[in-house]
């Protein structure tokens, strides 16, 4: 067994993973926590992206970012542990699930895209804070972000059917 598959095997045969599989209510509860978390994160991301794309230009971009993005980050505290719990219950199977693999890939791209936006276009946000169009580079980041997050949600839903 490769170290990777040993790790997956250990994860899947741990007590927490077993509890996830055997308890009547644990899996659905954890699923719900994951969903509540990502509605906050994805909701925040989509609303911010739409603002950068030019909707509701009367709302200052930096103020909106200051409000929405911390909520999105905080939501990761619900999303990530819940996601890891679900992953552990079926780890060996999931790494071969195309929807899951694609979702992880899109998540990495979305993270990279967000980081590039914050280190790049967003630095000049005071110049396009309110009432004017964001620069093309910022709008491209926002459009890519929207598409990636829709893809992530779709892939997440498709894991059960892949």
């Amino acid at each position: 067994m490769s170290p990777g598959s040993q790790l997956l095997h250990a994860l899947e045969h741990g007590g927490i993973a077993a509890a996830m599989r055997d308890s009547m209510w644990l899996y659905p509860v954890v699923e719900t926590v994951h969903i509540v978390g990502f509605t906050i994160l994805v909701g925040a991301v989509i609303l911010f992206d739409l603002r950068v794309l030019g909707l509701s230009k009367r709302v200052p971009v930096r103020m909106l970012a200051g409000h929405l993005l911390p909520w999105g980050t905080a939501a990761l505290l619900l999303i990530v542990p819940a996601g890891l719990l679900m992953f552990s219950s079926d780890a060996a199977n999931l790494v071969g699930n195309r929807a899951f693999v694609l979702k992880m890939l899109l998540l990495m791209l979305a993270g990279t895209n967000a980081a590039a936006f914050h280190m790049g276009s967003f630095r000049s946000a005071e110049k396009w804070d309110q009432g004017v169009a964001a620069p093309l580079s910022a709008r491209l980041h926002a459009a890519v972000s929207l598409l990636l997050w829709l893809g992530i949600v779709t892939c997440g839903r498709m894991i059960a059917y892949a």
Binding site: R21, M24, L55, Y161
Partner: protein, 116 residues
């Protein structure tokens, strides 16, 4: 106009992605329903979905069932689903794995439980 274009792109994406991603569900062949009757040699009543291994006419099949909460709500308890019992599953064979099928319904002891 630009917003309209963006919106139409958005909607196209919403429709197109599930169409591509949906490929996975078709890994079970809806055109070839099969019915297997045999002895349960292994049963798991677990999330995300229960499974049984079924010895049917000289071949051991893995039948993918439903989440325990659904099976329980429909009257198929974990005590019904145990090794040694005779079971009949109706469902669709996997396109990838010749020993796997997704069960639409299961009959144990004369009682049929719908799984979808």
């Amino acid at each position: 106009m630009r917003k309209l274009l963006a919106l139409s792109g958005f909607v196209t994406f919403l429709v197109a992605v599930p169409a591509i991603a949906h490929h996975g569900w078709s890994s079970y062949d809806n055109d070839k329903p099969i019915t297997l009757t045999g002895t349960v040699v292994e049963a798991s009543y677990t999330y995300p979905h229960g499974t049984i291994k079924l010895d049917a006419s000289g071949k051991t099949w893995v039948a993918v069932l439903a989440p325990p909460s659904r099976m329980s709500a429909r009257g198929l308890s974990s005590t019904d689903l145990k090794t040694g019992v005779q079971a009949t599953v109706e469902g669709y064979p996997s396109r990838d794995d010749p020993t796997e099928m997704r069960a639409e319904r299961i009959t144990i002891g004369g009682k049929t439980t719908e799984l979808r």
